[in-house]
Symmetry: C2
Amino acid sequence: MKFYDCQTAPSPRRVRMFLAEKGVELETEQVDLGAGDQFSEEFRRVNPDCVVPALVLDDGTCLSEAIAICQYLEELHPEPPLFGTSPVERACVSMWNAKIEQQGLWAAADALRNYAKSFRGRAVSGLDSYEQIPELAERGRRRAERFFHRLDEQLADRPFVAGNNFSVADITALAFVDFAKWVKLEIPEDAGNLRRWYEEVSKRPGAAA
Amino acid sequence: MKFYDCQTAPSPRRVRMFLAEKGVELETEQVDLGAGDQFSEEFRRVNPDCVVPALVLDDGTCLSEAIAICQYLEELHPEPPLFGTSPVERACVSMWNAKIEQQGLWAAADALRNYAKSFRGRAVSGLDSYEQIPELAERGRRRAERFFHRLDEQLADRPFVAGNNFSVADITALAFVDFAKWVKLEIPEDAGNLRRWYEEVSKRPGAAA
């Protein structure tokens, strides 16, 4: 089993945090996204979608998409449980992971990739070239800011995003909050619940990953 | 348990197809998205994100996000299995569901919501108002077209999207292909594998849902 990572990118960080919470180490290869290594012939044979994280199993299956990789690792290493322990809890973890991806992470990615010089002609991840859309960068910023408040409301009466237990939804949320800093978005002053949560989860072993 | 549906929308259709494959019926309420019923005070108390599908459990928990609702229903009604039956198969189903959402469904949604008159000022689902971005409609079209070919490649040497068995990933893919017609995108002539798959899955009981 081999994990393809990029130390500077938010999506593979989700897998690194997950592994750290589980106390698991994997054979890892760094893919330098800044240098375009994801488009090399060699990596395209690993993952034709040209993105990390990717996890190649011993039978040659390539898993990509952070949540699918984490789900697979959860089955191999069930303790501590990070996907919930009852049907309702598992569904809430899955729901919040999806909300954070769509309303948070992808919004912040829109803001960065449609604005930063280094993403010119690469405004969408993957092999195809897409020009930047400045209005979409603005929309992404606005959506990410709004989502800080949505998370703040959610954390008003529960310690973690999906309920009483730390889960992969908190990992996705932490990846979002730290990634948003790349486009100079910080947790708003009045989002006290989100601040409290952020301080706590940032102390966890996985947060440094 | 109560299912909030909208008969004309692609995301709740994923849940309807899933229920039909399971042979399960739920108490259902239609939410008229065209009339703006998702923004009513009443529905905002059900789901503050103002989207369907939503599934309200007997304890009051509101599940939204199609994949989370389907996952919960899978646990209540395990047969026939639609999320895979081994760790690798489950991970492939989860990965393909994510790819189809991001590269297919959301791309087609960008194409529709940033173009159609009926979505002016509502280019993003949810309560906040966002103006349309015509360039994003174009990008969405191009991405959705590209994704037809990605699905076609994936179906070259396997009967279903995630492998040998029909799964929730096929349901998401069918929702994408049919939704793409709304922006006049059809499976390309040369995508023979995708055409073969589409003909087969369109005959299933769930497809009419």
